[in-house]
């Protein structure tokens, strides 16, 4: 599924990263807890979160996320947008709640992240 399709499905606003609009997104995960994102996410993830602070963008960069979707109408801090632009990470904003946003993407066949048993995989 491309980022463009995700923007359409979530009726989202693309704040930055427009050059990635045709990038293919293969899986996604949703959490407001960055501790869990760091523990369970895999590189290439599309991160859905309602946590709008600078650390959400920092975490996305560290794990190699392909983009961030802020749910529940949240908007990232200006410092977060600045960092996302610097690190070339697309940011999407949607008014959908977390459950609905994840459900809409999953129902359109965008899978989630499954527990990693081999850290070197």
């Amino acid at each position: 599924m491309t980022l463009k399709e995700i923007v359409h499905i979530l009726q989202a606003e693309l704040v930055c990263g427009k050059s990635h609009i045709n990038d293919e997104i293969e899986f996604a995960g949703g959490s407001d807890l960055m501790s869990d994102v760091l523990a369970f996410a895999k590189p290439g993830i599309l991160l859905l979160t309602g946590l709008s602070n600078l650390q959400s963008v920092r975490t996305a960069d560290i794990i190699g996320a392909k983009g961030i979707v802020y749910v529940r109408g949240k908007k990232p801090d200006p410092e977060g947008i600045k960092l996302a632009k610097k690190k070339d990470i697309p940011i999407l904003l949607t008014d959908y709640m977390m459950y609905t946003a994840c459900g809409l993407l999953y129902s359109q066949h965008l899978p989630g992240v499954y527990p990693v048993t081999d850290k070197k995989s």
């Binding site: 501790s35 760091l38 560290i62």
Partner: protein
């Protein structure tokens, strides 16, 4: 215990409670590693462990020093902090155990996953602490997977 013959070594200072800059050092180290041609899977593990360790200093210590060194066969991260230290290390290593304040939880951290996640991502991990003085973490990543766990 954990030494490597560094071809590149750098030292960074971490300031406790400086959330505006928290993570800068981990990002810098990730960028350095990305220029070396090291496999992305090792870079991600190093970045995650370093970020967790850096956030721990920001959240729980007064200040700290991060020593980064890259050798032909390994990446080494050592962090010395000055702060309250950890009274019970085996308890701190348990997933879910945390002394975080609500403030940190609202920031998305403090779930008691940090130290276990560092250990999970590392090939070698050592922690020592002196309550009232500070904590030292040593983390090693092998560049040759056959040397890993």
């Amino acid at each position: 215990m954990i030494e490597n013959e560094a071809v590149l070594a750098q030292q960074f200072e971490i300031q406790g409670r400086d959330f505006n800059h928290a993570g800068n050092i981990s990002t810098t180290i990730k960028e350095i590693l990305q220029e070396t041609g090291i496999p992305p899977s090792i870079i991600i593990r190093t970045a995650i462990a370093t970020y967790e360790a850096e956030m721990n200093v920001v959240m729980y210590a007064d200040k700290g020093t991060l020593y980064f060194s890259l050798a032909p066969d390994s990446i080494r991260i050592k962090i010395d902090d000055r702060g309250t230290g950890i009274k019970n290390i085996s308890l701190a290593m348990k997933e879910g155990y945390s002394t975080a304040t609500n403030e940190y939880r609202e920031m998305g951290f403090g779930a008691g996953m940090g130290l276990p996640n560092i250990k999970k991502n590392a090939d070698k991990f050592k922690i020592s602490s002196c309550p009232g003085k500070g904590t030292t973490l040593e983390i090693l990543f092998f560049l040759n997977n056959s040397e890993g766990q």
